[in-house]
């Protein structure tokens, strides 16, 4: 064989294998693919509901996605409510710009970030780079070039574990599945049948540190971006199954104090949204059971109504 052609075959093999892996990871089959599909479904819903003069867009990680009942909130507030929460490991730097394009004049944007997101020193998480590539916006959130190159390369690796799990899924269920594969309803909330429960032991999450400077700076920037689009940013502390020792409480108080300087912050001042009853939670320290989502949504509605600048008194 002609020697350069021999070397081309290496590139061809690598490219084919990478493409197969990419299709699995980002398009259909791997965890990231379900997250991408969920995100795109939510964005499509946001684009459909453009006509409303005023909407409530709720964003954050899965601590937003799995914690509200948007339909109930919509009924109570009298405006369209859309759950745009995605996944914490996507990171604040990527979550915020990935939804900013959907903000219209008059919109209220409610950001409910998990502490994991607020603790990040650079606003990036494990999935930041790959999520950006998967949604067709590589480098979104200022992912450093080295990280972007590495994660893009790994996007072609389906992994033996991933492929085996998907194969078993196909045999057992007739289709591939993933954490986010249940889809979303018309409000962007998890599909009704989605009721994940923790099987292992519960333990209270310690809140070991307050919000980082980077997170504050990024949320401040987000407020400016939202306002530039004619929207209003509201922040909320997440409900979390947390340890309520002195240090954790102090850190949450400090976080609340700092966030309140940026935008109206809603939370229960008694509990600081630090819950000590694990029955409220589904499978993580943030995800709520469907019943708890209703309680949480009623509380959010009440707290939103109390913000004077939102002027909800005239709404139904």
């Amino acid at each position: 064989m002609w020697k350069p052609l021999k070397l081309t075959s290496w590139i061809a093999v690598a490219a084919i294998a990478w493409t197969i892996g990419y299709i699995y990871n980002a398009r259909y089959g791997g965890e990231l693919s379900w997250l991408r599909m969920m995100y795109e479904d939510k964005i499509a819903l946001a684009e459909e509901k453009v006509e409303a003069p005023r909407r409530l867009l709720i964003t954050g990680g899965s601590g937003a996605h799995y914690t509200i009942n948007s339909e109930l909130m919509s009924e109570k507030l009298g405006i369209p409510v859309l759950n745009l929460g995605i996944d914490g490991p996507v990171g604040l730097n990527v979550i915020l710009p990935s939804i900013i394009g959907q903000v219209r004049p008059g919109d209220i944007v409610l950001l409910i970030p998990e502490y994991l997101i607020l603790w990040s020193e650079d606003g990036l998480g494990d999935r930041s780079a790959q999520f950006g590539v998967a949604i067709g916006r590589p480098g979104l959130g200022g992912v450093p070039p080295k990280q972007l190159a590495q994660d893009t390369l790994l996007l072609g690796t389906a992994t033996l574990r991933g492929v085996t799990k998907s194969t078993i899924d196909v045999i057992q269920k007739g289709q591939m599945t993933g954490y986010y594969s249940d889809g979303v309803n018309a409000y962007g909330d998890p599909a009704p049948e989605d009721d994940k429960r923790r099987t292992g032991e519960w333990w209270e999450l310690p809140i070991n540190k307050p919000i980082t400077k980077h997170a504050l700076k990024r949320i401040e920037q987000f407020r400016q971006e939202v306002e530039a689009k004619g929207g209003t940013l509201v922040l909320s502390l997440p409900w979390v199954y947390a340890r309520t020792d002195e240090k954790s409480v102090e850190n949450v108080e400090k976080t609340a104090e700092e966030l309140a300087k940026i935008a109206p912050l809603i939370y229960d001042p008694e509990s600081l949204n630090m819950k000590t009853n694990s029955d409220l939670f589904a499978d993580t320290h943030y995800h709520l059971t469907p019943k708890s989502r209703t309680i949480r949504s009623r509380e959010l509605v009440k707290q939103l109504r109390e913000i004077p600048e939102l002027d909800f008194r005239n709404e139904q």
Partner: protein, 488 residues
């Protein structure tokens, strides 16, 4: 270098793009001198080493300067003067290695056992920094430096060598951190005439080795690693199974690394020594040690065993045992490694005295049965050895040994517990990984049975290499484990 760490490839890329662009322009304008390739290689190696470990790099710079100038001095002397300098260099190198690698072990696990209270207090009064973990590469480049000193004592090596060539000989980035431990006669001539030779043939062969190495490390070793749990001591089925998994993992991990080194070097136009030759095809422990970590074993043979034995050939068995125990101790500063070395030394002696009678007892005419039983005994012995190797906790190791020699622990309920310890997904991944691992081992066996020229001939076939590359990209574990030998 950690070839499975993206940082390595990133630094290599960031360096290579501007360097080779300048080189290309320089060559086009006929301004590029060949010696600049040597400088380019040295800078590349040192940058990559610095990126791998700053502490190790600092120690390395001191050692390489010291060694170079001492060897230079040595080459100007003859007779006892040269030998004295050689002794000073070797003692200094080994002392640095001992300080970095064995200080804590010696203080806590040797002196600490004899002197009450010493174990907990010795660090406070110690005047030098204490390393809890050896900086990467020290064990390997120290041995290469020592070998260079000894080899340079030979009369034929009286010509001084250039500093840059010495740096490239010791610091050559594909092999500095975990070998192969190269000898002066094999590597130095290639380094002295080094020019970047990116030929299609070098690329092809280099990529084949890289492909095999990556597959062994990222697909096999890294997918096996999460299944090995050192805590299990009560169930003999599980203890044996984890020892078996570790036996596979350590081979695929270290051979994978060595083959990657071979591949990267080959792309640069340098041929490194093949460090493994299908060790699990061995039908005796002697053969196993001719196939496993070859450059280290040759080092121990030439610089420890033969000098120790000298003319006292009647004590060869004793010195062999001592050499293997020392080799075990080289692997790590813990009792389990010493036991492991001594165990293999003892096995070699056992084979030396009982091998022939065993062969006669098995029957001379039944070669295939003898071969199979010998292979099974060898592999079983190596697996048992891995039990010592894998666990630095001596009390836990003793507990495991007690368990595997307790006949009633091999109960059906324990077997059931073992078989039901995996979920469907976990079990399936493990089975697929083991199938792939054993397919690789089978291809090594096949090459040996077919008496091919080279044990990895089948695995390095052009189409097999490309399949392995594709499988690596698709099935690599997304969380690579550390290379085991980086800890040594």
């Amino acid at each position: 270098m950690n070839f499975s760490d993206f940082s390595f490839w990133w630094i290599l890329l960031l360096y290579a793009i501007p360097f080779f662009a300048i080189r290309y322009v320089g060559k086009s304008l006929k301004l590029w001198r060949d010696e600049l390739d040597t400088i380019g290689l040295a800078v590349m190696s040192l940058m990559l080493f610095l990126n791998a470990s700053r502490s190790s790099f600092a120690i390395f710079i001191v050692e390489i300067v010291f060694n170079y100038f001492m060897v230079r001095l040595m080459l100007r002397r003859r007779g006892n003067g040269a030998k004295l300098i050689a002794a000073i260099v070797i003692i200094t190198d080994i002392a640095i290695l001992a300080y970095l690698k064995y200080l804590t072990f010696f203080a806590e696990d040797v002196v600490g056992i004899v002197v009450p209270g010493f174990k907990n207090n010795w660090e406070q009064g110690f005047p030098l920094p204490i390393f809890q973990q050896i900086p990467p590469g020290v064990s390997f480049y120290t041995f290469q430096m020592v070998a260079f000193v000894v080899d340079s004592l030979r009369p034929k090596y009286k010509k001084p060598i250039a500093f840059l060539d010495y740096i490239n000989f010791i610091a050559f980035f594909p092999q500095i951190v975990a070998g192969p431990i190269e000898r002066r006669a094999d590597l130095l001539p290639q380094i002295q005439s080094f020019r970047f030779k990116f030929t299609a043939e070098n690329f092809e062969l280099g990529l084949r080795w890289l492909s095999l190495g990556f597959f062994m490390k990222l697909v096999l070793a890294d997918n096996i690693a999460p299944y090995i749990n050192l805590q299990e001591t009560a169930n003999p089925w599980i203890v044996w199974f984890f020892a078996y998994l570790f036996t596979l993992r350590i081979y695929f991990d270290f051979a994978g690394y060595s083959f990657m080194a071979l591949g990267v070097a080959r792309i640069l136009g340098v041929k490194l020594t093949v460090n493994f030759l299908a060790p699990y095809t061995s039908v005796s422990i002697q053969e196993f040690w001719r196939r496993w970590h070859i450059t280290l074993n040759n080092w121990f043979r030439d610089y420890v065993f033969l000098p120790l034995m000298g003319s006292k050939k009647q004590l060869a068995a004793f010195f062999l045992f001592i050499t293997f125990t020392l080799s075990g101790f080289w692997h790590g500063a813990a009792w389990n490694f010493i036991i492991w070395g001594a165990y293999h030394g003892a096995l070699l002696l056992l084979l030396r005295y009982t091998g022939r009678p065993f062969q006669r007892w098995m029957g001379a005419g039944k070669v295939s049965r003898f071969q199979f039983i010998s292979w099974a005994l060898t592999f079983g012995s190596v697996t048992l050895g891995c039990l010592f190797f894998m666990d630095t906790n001596i009390l836990r190791l003793l507990s495991k040994l007690r368990t595997i020699v307790t006949p009633w622990a091999y109960s059906l309920s324990n077997l059931g517990e073992f078989l039901s310890s995996y979920s469907l997904n976990e079990g399936t991944v493990l089975i697929v990984t083991l199938l792939l691992a054993n397919a690789v081992l089978f291809m090594e066996h096949l090459a040996v049975w077919q008496k091919r020229k080279f044990e990895y001939e089948l695995l390095l076939l052009p189409w097999v290499s490309r399949v392995l590359l594709g499988l690596t990209i698709l099935f690599a574990a997304n969380q690579p484990s550390e290379f085991i030998y980086f800890e040594f």
